[in-house]
Symmetry: C2
DNA sequence: GGCAACTAAGTTGTGCACAACTAAGTTGTG
DNA sequence: CACAACTTAGTTGTGCACAACTTAGTTGCC
């Protein structure tokens, strides 16, 4: 059985939701639901990107790494992790797979032997042309106007920053 | 090395982003960025939930399943997958872990032997009291007003629906 | 110079997400 | 009745995400 991917049931998303027992009446539950909505939207995007990126042989996280490299080649691993907000435990195997696919190479930096520099192969460069139509197809799938996209992105950045700040020591 | 979790660098999120080569000027890239922003926000939420749920011994997806069951016990596996928008390949092992933790039981339905019904154990019921303060702590972490939460949730639902519709056959 | 503190990358182990598949039960139709 | 089509759970394999840890190299400070 496939996921509820292209959702057969619109899913009332935790319908009336957790009834109020020990907590105050209502508003609180909405915060669970906004996280759920975020989670869902993120996965729905993932599904669309999966379709669009299939021909390129990339997953979405791999595509993000390629975006970073297409914008500026010759980047240390650390910087990739920072830009994509990913742990080394995620980035290392991700880069290993991209290397195995022949799209990038990794070389120890000469001036700092701790650092590893990531570089595009010719094949990795060439893939850029094939990826040219990706953003357009995604834009089409969202059906959002430029203003809506900008606004949503801004809200999400503020939310992320707020959550990060709240998640420090407690 | 830990992730960029409580983000040490605010990360300009693919800074100027993929420069325009073969595609038209600018707007397109924003759609990549909105997905990235979504992805980031979702993971930032995950990090906060991880902190808050640690005492309960639950992950966020496990907490979602418990929410469904606390609202209405005695639910078939299929319904859990629909409500949470998850594949059986995700739900099955997830339920297996909750069962191993002693929070739920699974029983073959009598009237339809294909179906499996999920039921809370006493321990699973009891956990509800411990979870009472979760939504409040999350709400606090977001720093959003009720109106903002409602609006954001609504936008995300519309976006998800649109993406689902676009991801069918093409 | 020597050594503690730090930094960069990688590894290990756990859990989520999904595609593709299997097994078992149910339903519809001739 | 019989059998194809469908439905429900579950399994297998791959990849992402992160905590906790390891290894190797650098820097600061005495």
């Amino acid at each position: 059985m496939s996921p509820a991917s292209p959702s057969p049931v619109p899913s009332p998303a935790l319908s009336p939701a957790l009834s109020p027992t020990l907590t105050s009446p209502e508003p609180f539950v909405l915060d669970d639901m906004v996280c759920f909505a975020l989670h869902s939207a993120s996965r729905a995007f993932g599904s669309v990107y999966r379709s669009v990126l299939r021909d390129l042989g990339l997953t979405y996280p791999q595509y993000l790494v390629m975006l970073v490299l297409w914008e500026r080649d010759d980047v240390p691993v650390k910087r990739i992790g920072e830009q994509l907000r990913l742990d080394t435990g995620t980035v290392s195997p991700l880069l290993k797979r991209l290397e195995a696919a022949g799209l990038i190479r990794r070389e120890r930096s000469a001036e700092d032997e701790r650092s590893v520099t990531v570089r595009l192969t010719d094949e990795g460069c060439a893939l850029r042309a094939g990826a040219a139509e990706v953003p357009g197809r995604i834009a089409e799938a969202t059906g959002l106007t430029l203003a809506e996209v900008t606004d949503l992105r801004e809200r999400l950045h503020r939310l992320t920053a707020k959550l990060d700040a709240a998640d420090l020591p407690e």
